[in-house]
């Protein structure tokens, strides 16, 4: 039954570019998909280990910048007469390096901030994002600063001499994002149902107890941060090679907030939560734009919605709907994911 629903959903998602001719709608879906990947990565930290990363956009932006810089090539003067130079490399290599670099940053941040619990991790991640944004803004020689990195090449895959495919058009990018989303979903699913995932949930529920039965808390927190940062970096790399321009505004705090709302509204600590939340809050700005109201009013609505969601659906939409469904006595599915 569950498997049937999954296959039906996948078939539906695969068919979208076949009947959806409006390219703008496809664009909105691609961007929403990229944000869903980022939201899923945030959910791994927030939902399963209970640690709120408010600098998640830093990993996203680092993935975007590193991938673009590798693809474009750069030359930086470390000392006045000693320059480091990188020739342009293929885009797929850039994406891998961007993901790896973001993961490395996740490791460093995790090692530093999990010495202390509670509000510290939140503030360290916020600060980290701000430092990275300032670097992107001020290190003009490398990042072009506010002039942005332009003409970022699109992803090209193929076997040299045989065939080549460039992800330029919207349907191709839609499938690319869909594939990465599904891969990330499966990875997170496997991780949270593994020994490591159970350790993470145990320490979220009761850290002293988890420690007392031998869970190496800091190690699992750092592991979750690294995986989460890598996925956010991959999402950033996808974003960079899709929109093909990256400026320091990708580090704006509001994007982190968007990811947090997606996770909380959808249901933190559930696999489907970030996807549901991501679709709702990814498409909401477009719906609000349809009413032709000022962007400031849009954001006021966004902020108020966030407060209302916390008040009325503190567990999120997915657990609320599932609870409602089970109370109706139908389809008594086993609850596999513990709601926090």
């Amino acid at each position: 039954m569950t498997r049937g629903i999954t296959i039906a959903w996948l078939a539906f998602l695969l068919s979208v570019p076949l009947w959806m001719t409006d390219l703008y709608v496809l664009h909105v879906l691609i961007v929403a998909g990229i944000f869903i990947i980022a939201a899923m990565s945030l959910n791994l930290l927030l939902g399963y280990t209970g640690q709120l990363s408010l600098g998640h956009v830093a990993f996203f932006g680092i993935g975007a910048y590193v991938s673009s810089l590798v693809a474009l090539g750069f030359e930086v003067h470390v000392l006045p007469d000693w320059a480091v130079r990188l020739e342009p490399k293929p885009v797929w290599l850039g994406m891998i390096l961007g993901t790896a670099f973001a993961a490395g940053c996740g490791w460093v941040i995790g090692r530093i901030s999990f010495k202390v619990r509670g509000a510290y991790f939140v503030i360290v991640t916020v600060s980290f994002a701000e430092v990275v944004r300032l670097v992107a803004l001020n290190w003009v020689e490398l990042t072009q600063g506010p002039m942005a990195l332009n003409n970022i090449p699109a992803l090209t895959l193929g076997i040299p001499g045989l065939f080549e495919f460039t992800f330029l058009r919207k349907p191709a990018n839609y499938y690319l994002v869909l594939v990465v989303t599904v891969v990330c979903y499966v990875l997170i699913r496997r991780l949270v149902h593994s020994r490591a995932g159970r350790a993470m949930i145990a320490l979220r529920e009761n850290e002293p107890l988890a420690t007392s039965v031998g869970v190496d808390v800091t190690r699992y927190l750092v592991l979750a941060t690294v995986v989460s940062a890598a996925m956010a970096g991959a999402a950033g790399a996808l974003y960079a090679h899709y929109v093909r321009i990256v400026d320091p505004d990708v580090f704006l705090f509001i994007y982190t907030v968007t990811m947090v709302i997606m996770v909380i509204a959808g249901g933190k600590g559930t696999l489907a939560g970030p996807i549901v939340g991501g679709l709702i809050f990814g498409l909401l700005p477009e719906v609000l734009r349809g009413f032709e109201i000022k962007p400031e009013v849009q954001w006021v609505v966004y902020g108020v919605l966030m407060i209302l969601v916390v008040y009325f659906l503190p567990q999120g939409i997915v657990p609320a709907v599932r609870g409602w469904w089970e109370r109706r006595g139908r389809a008594p599915q086993a609850v596999q994911e513990a709601a926090p």
């Binding site: 709120l52 360290v124 980290f128 701000e130």
Partner: protein, 290 residues
Amino acid sequence: MEQLLQHGANALILGGTYALLGIGLTLIFGIMRVVNFTHGELYSFGAYMMYAAVMLAGADFFLALVLAVLLGIALGAAIELLLLSRLRGADIDTTMLVMIGAWIALQNAEQLAWTGVAKSIDTPFPATPLVLGPVSISWNRLFVFVVALALIVAAYAVINRTRLGRAMRATFQDRETAALMGVEIGFVHTATFALGSGLAAAAGALLGPVFVVYPTMGDLASLKAFAIVILGGLGSIPGATIGGFILAFMEELGAGYVSSGFRDGMGFLLIILILIVRPTGLFAQKERIG
């Protein structure tokens, strides 16, 4: 050397307002366990009220300052009663999310009300600076420093010398026992949030005329206040006071000798250094878990 003296004087004067911001935030965190993301909005609210009173209503500069602080206290109390009073006992993430929502809504409402154009506020102070040997200080900044110091002393007096302050300290030490002894926890929370908000609004009202006023000015103020509070140790009021001055010196020296672009980044580098060397901050009393 002369340059160093000038940087030192600038830092000392900036440090006063930073300390105000930090004390307000650490007070709210220590007593309420709320990470207050609206702190920066109260800062910009104070600055805008100053602008409205002086530039639009033509009020007296000093009267406007008092008014801006009182309005900040009122807004803080309103936020606490409307949003936080129902969430007492909720975990720290829940209140943090509500505060983030309130921050986004407030900031954009501000943008809507005042537009994004930066505003400047006229001051009654003479334009020629006070020159003391190699150091020159504008009269306005000197005024800011004196008022900030007076407010810091006043905040200490409220916390250490009044009945309300005693109730606040009792709540900080042990909420349940304080409630059992008859401390009105609800009122202490509202008063704490109002007091912290008033200090943030005062910082904004003082610095607004020195710099310019714009809707997103609160974001950096919030982040700097976080840096100060982590530096001093979450919940430590002396820590926040000294942290404010340390951050100001770091920024001033960083801007003077490294690069002005990284001025605002110094605070964050400082946080990361502190967490590597002494994770609980310089002045934390004890690690509070649970």
